[in-house]
């Protein structure tokens, strides 16, 4: 399989300046993360709030400054080193982003036509008005919007429909990689399912690769091929969906799976069901050893003193834990 996106040792730090007299503190939002995204797959990124999922996604599209590391797209183009002109061509045509809050992501003073056609007008200025409108109408029918909604404003739509508009805007440039940042978290359960199915259909139709960020493991199970579990800016586990839901390696993943609310009890391994207590430590002062050691039921002195590396296991799963036999 070809690697569409390679992330190598990516770190994103935010400097917090408290006052003129105090030292600036650093938030390690994403800390030394490496992973590959293969063409055509859907990779899920899960974790609690504050685990750095969104920061990671935002750095891939350039909404955040990256402190260290490389992001390589399509095996040849390093996003970090790309010039402004190249970024323009590459990022906007090939990588698109779908936001968490579907309503806030649409300009309330623009009609649906203006919103969906804007990427075309910017990136293909030679298109005639009719061409643009035709493409917009095509895209609208693909995402399930009707043509008579063309002249309406975003405020007149429900969240689910706004998300469809957002998807249409992202896909009209026919990108290769789509990043969905908690794109269904703000929607009702039934609408959520509709949008997820739509994304799956669109993936087949446009041959998309999707990075899907969520804190909801049942959503991830529905849509993803591989899952990356993050905690405090680090990767805890990276495995195929089957391996993950059959039996997670990392104690954090086990705890996350135990926390799924589901009417189907078979889904959850009922043995050793441990729910996590306490909060995530501050990313300003991450623990010295394993970042999860403060809440881990299996942690001992080794975990508290040194950080476990991400290692590959026999079934192809990667996990960062000393306590996996």
């Amino acid at each position: 399989m070809t690697k569409l996106l390679q992330v190598k040792n990516l770190s994103v730090n935010f400097e917090l300046k408290k006052s003129w007299f105090r030292k600036t503190t650093t938030v390690h939002a994403v800390d030394d993360i490496s992973f590959d995204v293969y063409a055509g797959e859907t990779i899920g990124i899960v974790g609690e709030s504050g685990s750095g999922k969104s920061t990671l996604a935002r750095s891939i599209v350039g909404l955040n400054k990256v402190t260290a590391g490389e992001i390589i797209f399509d095996d040849k183009i390093n996003i970090m080193q790309a010039t402004a002109a190249m970024q323009h061509k590459l990022l906007h045509k090939h990588i698109q982003y779908i936001f968490q809050d579907p309503i806030a992501a649409l300009n309330p003073r623009m009609t649906v036509l203006e919103i969906i056609s804007e990427p075309l007008i910017i990136n293909y200025p030679h298109y005639s008005k009719e061409q643009v409108k035709e493409k917009v109408l095509q895209m609208m029918s693909v995402v399930g919007l009707s043509a008579n909604q063309l002249e309406r404003y975003a405020s007149e739509f429900s969240g689910g429909q706004c998300q469809r508009i957002g998807i249409a805007r992202a896909l009209i440039l026919e990108p290769k990689l789509l990043i969905c940042d908690e794109s269904v978290s703000a929607l009702d359960a039934s609408i959520k399912a509709q949008i997820l199915n739509l994304l799956q259909d669109l993936q087949k139709k446009f041959n998309l690769t999707i990075i899907f960020i969520s804190h909801d493991l049942s959503v991830i199970k529905h849509i993803c091929d591989r899952v990356m579990v993050m905690y405090l800016g680090k990767v805890m586990e990276l495995s195929s969906k089957e391996n993950l839901y059959k039996g997670a390696k990392h104690p954090y993943t086990t705890a996350l799976l135990a926390a799924i609310l589901t009417p189907n009890l078979k889904l959850v391994p009922t043995k050793n069901k441990t729910l996590l207590e306490g909060d995530m430590p501050s990313p300003i002062n991450p623990p010295l050893g394993c970042v999860f050691s403060t809440r881990c039921p299996k942690a001992d002195s080794q975990c508290k003193l040194s950080r476990p590396p991400l290692q590959e296991f026999a079934d192809g799963t990667f996990a960062a834990c000393y306590k996996i036999s």
């Binding site: 599209v61 698109q96 806030a104 992501a105 300009n107 309330p108 623009m110 910017i122 008579n148 007149e156």
Partner: protein, 291 residues
């Protein structure tokens, strides 16, 4: 039939309730603001048409009719030179409105562009641009206006444009503040991600979303400019006889207190106009920023 005919029509052809229509509906519900708007519009219309249709000319003296009290002949009375105060009030209103409109347009233009650039760019650009505003704030405003009026004394409009050019400071601050919150919004980030240039983001995404605030603020700038023009005319700067403005008319009235109408009518017109602008601004705020 269960449906009213109109209901069926709306079902067949979904009609877009744009932002402006909804805002106008909210505005119309505010009776005081609506009344004030009607008052402002009718004063404006009278300023335009009264001098055309009255058989008195504002500049021609008629010494036999000096200081006639209001009545059938002169509705608002006449002044010391026997000129009809009714016509003079509206010709003065014309000048006052012209000045206020020109000044407000300049204030809007500079304030919105300056403020949105500062707010959107942020960082050093923002700091430098806002420090410039702070320095301009330090200028003694009235002194500066008088200086500009003596420099550009020949044309009132030009001099007021010059004055407006130093009164956009508040506007730019208001706009900058709004822009700072707008640029965090996800739709601005979305625009960045589809490759929109900074100028496109400012002109297509930031400024259209500022319009509400800007209109409200403009409705407050207009009366400010009216007051300023009146203050300066009161000092004998700007408008020259026989042309007049509300400030000049009030000045005349103050000097002829025994003929009460000379002070009463121009002052009443001006006070009502200023009040109306305040009510309209209030109504606009409620209509455009429903919270």
């Amino acid at each position: 039939m269960f449906f009213h005919k109109n209901t069926l029509n709306t079902l067949n052809q979904p009609k877009s309730y744009g932002f402006w229509l909804a805002a106008f509906k909210r505005f119309r519900r505010n009776k005081l603001a609506m009344l004030s708007l009607i008052f402002i519009l009718s004063v404006t219309l009278m300023c335009i048409f009264v001098p055309f249709f009255s058989h008195y000319v504002y500049s021609v003296p008629n010494f036999s009719d000096s200081l006639v009290a209001p009545g059938a002949q002169y509705w608002f009375g006449s002044d010391g030179l026997g000129r009809d105060l009714f016509v003079r009030c509206f010709i003065g209103g014309r000048v006052t409105f012209e000045i206020a409109t020109a000044a407000t347009i300049v204030v809007l233009g500079i304030g919105v562009i300056y403020g949105s650039i500062a707010g959107f760019m942020g960082g050093y650009v923002d700091s430098i641009m806002m420090r410039i505003v702070d320095i301009l704030y330090g200028l003694p405003f009235l002194f500066f206006s008088i200086l500009l009026l003596t420099l550009f004394g020949q044309s009132i409009i030009i001099s007021f444009v010059a004055i407006a050019a130093i009164s956009w400071l508040d506007m730019s601050r208001v706009v900058r503040g709004q822009t700072l919150s707008l640029r965090q919004k996800e739709f601005v980030e979305a625009a960045k991600l589809i490759g929109a240039s900074n100028w496109r983001i400012i002109s297509k995404h930031i400024i259209p979303n500022l319009i509400g605030v800007v209109i409200i603020y403009a409705a407050l700038v207009v009366p400010n400019m009216i007051v300023l023009s009146a203050v300066l005319s009161f000092f004998g700067l700007g408008v020259m006889e026989p042309m007049t403005s509300w400030g000049l008319l009030i000045n005349d009235g103050v000097q002829n207190m025994s003929s009460w109408w000379l002070l009463f009518f121009p002052a009443l017109l001006m006070v009502l106009t200023l009040l109306s602008f305040a009510f309209v601004a209030n109504g606009l705020r409620d209509a455009l920023d429903p919270r």
